[in-house]
Every structure is written in C-alpha cells, then in structure tokens.
Amino acid sequence: MNVDLDCQGMVCPLPVIKLAKALPTVAVGETVTVLADDPAAAVDIPAWCRMRSQELVEATGKSYVVRRVS
C-alpha cells in the first residue's frame, strides 16, 4: 500500500512535517509518496530519511517515495 501526499505549493519545512505525520499511519514496509515542488524538499526529504532511518526508495523530479522501515 502507498499513501500519496500532495505538498505542492508548500514551503520548507511543511513537506517534511507532513511526511513525518503521514509515515506512522502506514505499516512497516509500506510507502508514502510525497509530491513537493519546494527546492528545499530535494535536500530535506532525503536528510529526514537519513536522520529518521527510513528508506528513500526513489526521488524523481518532485516525487519522493519513502518506505517505512521502523
């Protein structure tokens, strides 16, 4: 299962906050796909995954797929 999160038009740190709130709502192994066009998201979403030990499956354009691993 995957949850989509449309964060287009939102600026830092909102997309990361939305992601942090959404990820615990999916089961371990499932994903959240964030759509974010804020340039800071390109750095901050991967950094959040590293800090939180979650898996960034894919980052293409403005789409970021994050898998809950814990």
């Binding site: 830092c12 740190p13 942090a20 750095v43 901050d44 950094a47 590293r50 800090m51």
Partner: protein
C-alpha cells in the same frame, strides 16, 4: 530585551577598536591621490604602502604580492578572472568545490566544474584530483574553510594535486581567525570579516603566477582594482588585522571552547537537531545546526526578539527562496538552520544565554505546527 548577543561575526565582525582609531586619523591624512607627486599625494602613498606592508606581513607574502580591492567579492572576481584569462590558451574551466562562496560560483559561471563534498563539507579529494587533471583547466578554486559550517579544506594536499594548475584560495572566512594555508597561487580575503571596515578586499598573487586583467585597466593596483583607492579604509583594515592577530591565540582558544560547548549543549537540550560540519578540523568561531520541523525564518526572528543575531541557510531566509547551496551539497537538513559565529566581543554570558533560550524557542515553533 536590551541586552544584545551578536552571534553573526561570519557575516560581519564589528569594527575593531584599533581600526576605528586608525580610520579616524587616516581620514584626515590619507585623503589625497597616492599616485600624485606632491606632498599630500606622497603622504597618502606612504600610508597605502604601510597598509599593504602590514597586510602582506599578516598573510606571509611580500608587499608587492598584495593588491587592495573594493570588497572580498571583487577580490574573488578579479583574482579568478585574471588568472583564467592568463591561461586562456590552456582552457577556461574553473574546478571548484560545491561549497565555495557564491562569488566564486558566479565567477566560474558556466565553465565551472564542480567537485562534491562529504556530509561534513570536506572536498572529495580523489574527485578533485581527477577534475584538475582534465584538459582545459585554467584554475582551481578551493576555500581555506567554509563560511557557513566552518569545515577546513585540506589546502596543502589540494595544492599538491593541482600540479601546474594555479590554485585560488578564498580565505575570507579564515583570515584573522585561523592559520593562513600554504601552497596557493592566489588568495582572496575580506576586511570586514576580521574587524576591518567593509569595502576592503585583499588579493594576494604569488610571484610567478600569470595574470591578465580582462577589463579596462588603469594605473592602480597593476590593473587588478581600477579606481581611486580608499586609503583610510585600507589602513583601518590593516590595523584591524594586525591587532586581531595579536589577540588571535587567546581569542581562538576561547572561541573554540565556547563553540565546543554550544556543539554539546544544543543537541543535548533540543531534540531532533542535526549539528553539521567538521567537529574538530574547523574554524574556531563558527557552528551550524538545523532543527527538524522548524521554520528557519521564524527561528531567526524569535532569536532576534530574545536579543540574538544569527544567520540562517534556510530557504525561507534567503532572497531567492532557495536553501543554502553549502548545506544542499553536504546533504544535510536545510530547514530550521542556524549559524552561530562568535566575534571578539562575544562573551561567555552570550553563549550561555543562547543555549538557555534556544530549547524553549524551538519547542514553541514546533508546537505551532503540531510537532
């Protein structure tokens, strides 16, 4: 809040008292044109030579290797473009790290060849060595230490890797705060970062380095900085650097210890904080950290209201709404970012009170967004 804690010395250091004193006397004695042969002109010339000699001594070069420009940025632009123009036959590529000051990135332009850094901001030396050996490289540009996160670059090793390619070192963040690196061909620095006035840049060009200013030249500064020189401000900048270096040992030790304390206390007292940059091999006076889920602009504003001046690399605090290219290149969190940089006037009380008020401010901003 009347008590101010100025923690943004890396943007601008307050004018050193020695610079102020020198400036006040030099505006009365050093106003004439130093290239004229009359008494007033010779007096100005003497003062300008004096400033040059002091600056040269401070960075360990000969006076005739020092040029004075109108800012750190113009020193970078003049130095990089003059070296590049002199090597036009070899090529126009400027190899540079991804964390150089924007003045370097702008000068390199489309012909820049960027070399990445690790998560602490240190250049990838293997990639750098490969890049600098490519055909068409005019010059390599590597900063002595980073202006946002304080990480030093291994200039001696970089210089070795450069071989025949001239090495341009932007030392703006470190001069007056750290040892002057060795092995460069051209070095740039900025007076207001060491307690001199704004509007004074320093460009040192080692003898034997070919330069070809690529703009309309005049008789000033061998064409590297056209226009009437600001003798009083040059003297004041020289006085500031001389005085600062006299205090350096004690100040740098103090700053290093205080930054170590902030580095320890912030992540201990504030949850979800990422302190970035080299923990040890760094400038003594700079520390940068990012607070998860915090708006950088709100943080800077709240700290200002508590009496603290800090800067931030967060996108929302920049005019372009893009995050700091330094933090982005390191791959560290860019939002909720704060850079603390200590000046010679910073007290332990400033540092201690900053560490005390920060946790409450971060908690309040997070609470507003339900985190």
């Amino acid at each position: 809040m009347s008590e101010r804690g100025y923690l943004d010395a890396a943007s601008a250091e307050p004018l050193h008292p020695a610079a102020r004193e020198m400036l006040l006397s030099a505006v009365d004695s050093g106003w004439a044109d130093p290239v004229r042969l009359h008494h007033e002109g010779r007096t100005a010339r003497l003062l300008l030579d004096n400033a040059r000699a002091v600056l040269a001594d401070a960075i360990g070069v000969r006076p005739d290797e020092v040029y004075l420009t109108t800012s750190g940025t113009t020193a970078i632009q003049a130095g990089l473009s003059a070296v590049r123009a002199a090597r036009e036959r070899v090529g126009r590529t400027v190899v540079h790290t991804a964390v150089e000051h924007s003045a370097v990135l702008h000068s390199a332009g489309d012909e820049g060849l960027e070399v990445g850094v690790d998560i602490r901001g240190r250049v990838d030396q293997e990639a750098f060595s490969d890049a600098v050996r490519r055909p068409g490289v005019a010059v390599a540009a590597v900063q002595s230490a980073n202006h946002e996160v304080g990480t030093r670059q291994p200039i001696a090793a970089i210089a070795q890797a450069c071989g025949d390619v001239p090495l341009f070192v932007d030392a703006s963040a470190s001069i007056g705060h750290d040892v002057v690196p060795e092995g460069w061909s051209v070095l740039a620095a900025s007076g207001h970062k060491w307690g001199g006035p704004a509007g004074v840049g320093l460009l040192a060009v080692r003898k034997g380095t070919r330069i070809a200013p690529a703009w309309p030249m005049d008789e000033r500064e061998d064409g590297l900085s056209p226009g009437f020189p600001d003798v009083p401000n040059a003297l004041a900048a020289a006085a500031a650097l001389q005085a600062r270096l006299g205090e350096a040992e004690e100040l740098n030790k103090q700053h290093r210890a205080w930054i170590d304390e902030v580095r320890r206390r912030v992540p201990a007292d504030v949850p979800d904080v990422e302190v970035v940059g080299e923990p040890d091999d760094r400038l003594p006076h700079i520390l940068t950290f990012s607070c998860l889920y915090v708006d950088g602009e709100a943080l800077v504003t709240a700290l200002d209201a508590e009496g603290f001046a800090v800067s931030s690399g967060s996108a929302c605090t920049s005019s372009t709404l893009k995050p700091s290219h330094v933090l982005a290149a390191m791959g560290v969190l860019t939002h909720g970012n704060v850079r603390v940089s200590l000046s010679r006037e910073t007290t332990y009380e400033d540092v201690d009170r900053f560490c005390q008020v920060l946790p409450g401010i971060v908690q309040r901003i997070r609470a507003e967004v339900g985190m």
